[in-house]
């Protein structure tokens, strides 16, 4: 059940190192992420989960003083290649953040933002896209009558699903989620988890979570990070019933630190 290095790999990371200034935040990460599966990243605070996630769509480049080396290949294309256009790359990789961050526009305009950026201005087309993506994000029924309403008037959980819809509207293949439910209450969290479960039919999902139970519930694979290193990665079942490394065992049973 471990990841294989064959064609059944969507993202292949090799010997990835990342430094913030002189501080090394990721050390020698090698990992294979399976397509159409949910991979959860867990580990104590500051271990580099978010940093790792953000190397996958090169969002780290927005920070000054970051140095990255190693290789990240998606569908066998090296994304850190000089030839690669970051903007194009990010279009193909959706990202969902910890705090839901809809634009202070209408629900419709939020979802239509990505397509418009890409030059789609035909109202009909846009309506189509908005409807399908909102349906995909399991929020259509709740908002279909208020598409013109401000997205900020939605509840936290709805906002987060709207953000997912917005990401889906540019038609990515990969979704990166950084603690997407940590600011939500249990009920909204359950809805998001359900949604993730459905989305993995079509998308490759990488999710950071502080909540071990959440990792257990939603993911197919779990990777345990510690101090910038990848300690262990395996199928979630194995990780939660019989992990190999003592550190992993200690962390998930709460005997850490």
């Amino acid at each position: 059940m471990t990841t294989t290095k064959t064609e059944n790999t969507k993202i292949a990371i090799r010997d990835l190192n990342l430094h913030y200034g002189s501080k090394q935040a990721l050390s020698n990460i090698s990992m294979d992420i399976a397509p159409k599966n949910v991979t959860a990243l867990i580990g104590p605070s500051g271990c580099g989960k978010s940093t790792f996630l953000r190397t996958l769509n090169r969002m780290n480049e927005l920070i000054d003083n970051v140095r990255i080396d190693g290789s990240v290949r998606i569908d066998n294309v090296e994304i850190y290649d000089k030839q690669v256009d970051v903007v194009e790359l990010r279009k193909r990789i959706g990202m969902i953040f910890q705090k839901s961050n809809p634009f202070p526009k209408s629900i419709f305009d939020n979802v239509a933002y990505g397509p418009r950026i890409n030059g789609i201005h035909d109202r009909k087309r846009l309506e189509e896209i908005v409807e399908t993506t909102l349906k995909r994000a399991a929020i259509w029924d709740e908002v279909k009558n208020d598409l013109g309403k401000s997205a900020l008037a939605l509840s936290g959980g709805q906002q987060q699903r709207l953000c997912i819809a917005r990401a889906l509207a540019v038609d990515p293949e990969i979704l990166l989620m950084d603690e997407p439910a940590s600011a939500l209450d249990p009920i909204a969290t359950a809805k998001i988890e359900e949604l993730i479960y459905e989305l993995k039919q079509s998308y490759t999902i990488v999710i950071v979570t502080h909540n071990m139970q959440q990792a257990a519930r939603v993911s197919d694979f779990t990777a345990f990070f510690y101090m910038g290193e990848l300690i262990e990665m395996d199928s979630t079942k194995t990780m939660f019933t019989a992990p190999t490394k003592k550190q992993t065992e200690d962390y998930i049973t709460g005997r850490f630190g």
Binding site: R217, T236, F240
Partner: protein, 226 residues
């Protein structure tokens, strides 16, 4: 995730129902092997035990995964714990069915296989009656699980005593026939063993019923009557 979890619980239940029907089949075949001298049936029981065992393992693993990954509480937890016990009981019933089948086969094989006359016939008759009751108990217990019907489960519990009595009576009868030398020694031994195994299966069916009561009503009745 709830929906997903629901599905997983459903699928656990389905596996258990499958397990239950395998065991029921085993039971019926074992009884047939004895009552209808059906050697084929007896052999089938022994073979199918392997499937029961592997299904038990499978279910057990599924349960551990559910406990590890879903962290169930309340109703869900009770259902899972109940399922685990049910699984275990079914496997044990399967084992007893094998015992029944073995006894039946031994009887078929033993040269002095005569269970037709006098006391032996009575014993066989008793065993037939026991088998009927136990079959119903097992079926009802499984049904009560499938339908999560605590009332049906309570009905199962009422049958324990009659089976117990029948068993005692049968064993006594066998001993007496042996003493009277109306029965071959092996025949007698196997008849007694059959009876005892049936009684155990009745016991285990009772356990299942008790678990159904537990998982539907959060009420432990096991060992309570003791």
């Amino acid at each position: 995730m709830e929906r997903q979890f629901q599905l997983e619980l459903e699928s656990l239940k389905t596996s258990l129902i499958k397990m239950g029907s395998l065991v029921e089949d085993s039971f019926r075949l074992a009884v047939a092997a004895f009552l209808e001298h059906d050697r084929r049936a007896g052999l089938e029981v022994i073979i199918s035990d392997e499937r029961i065992d592997s299904l038990e393992l499978e279910i057990d693993n599924a349960i551990i995964d559910l406990l590890a990954l879903r962290q169930p509480v309340a109703k869900d937890l009770r259902f899972i714990i109940g399922s685990q016990k049910l699984n275990n009981d079914l496997e044990r019933i399967g084992d007893h069915c094998v015992n029944l089948a073995q006894s039946a086969l031994t009887l078929l094989d033993s040269p002095g296989n005569s269970t037709t006359g006098g006391l032996a016939a009575t014993a066989v008759e008793d065993i037939r009656r026991m088998a009927e009751i136990v079959e119903r108990m097992l079926r009802d217990a499984l049904d009560s699980f499938i339908r999560l019907d605590p009332e049906l489960a309570e009905e199962v519990l009422e049958n324990e005593q009659p089976v117990d009595d029948l068993n005692r009576k049968t064993v006594k009868l066998v001993v007496e026939s042996l003493k009277a030398e109306e029965l071959g020694v092996e025949t007698g031994m196997e008849l007694a063993r059959l009876s005892r195994n049936l009684e155990r299966i009745a016991d285990l069916s009772t356990n299942i019923a008790e678990e159904v009561v537990f998982l539907t009503q959060a009420r432990v009745i096991k060992h309570q009557g003791v």
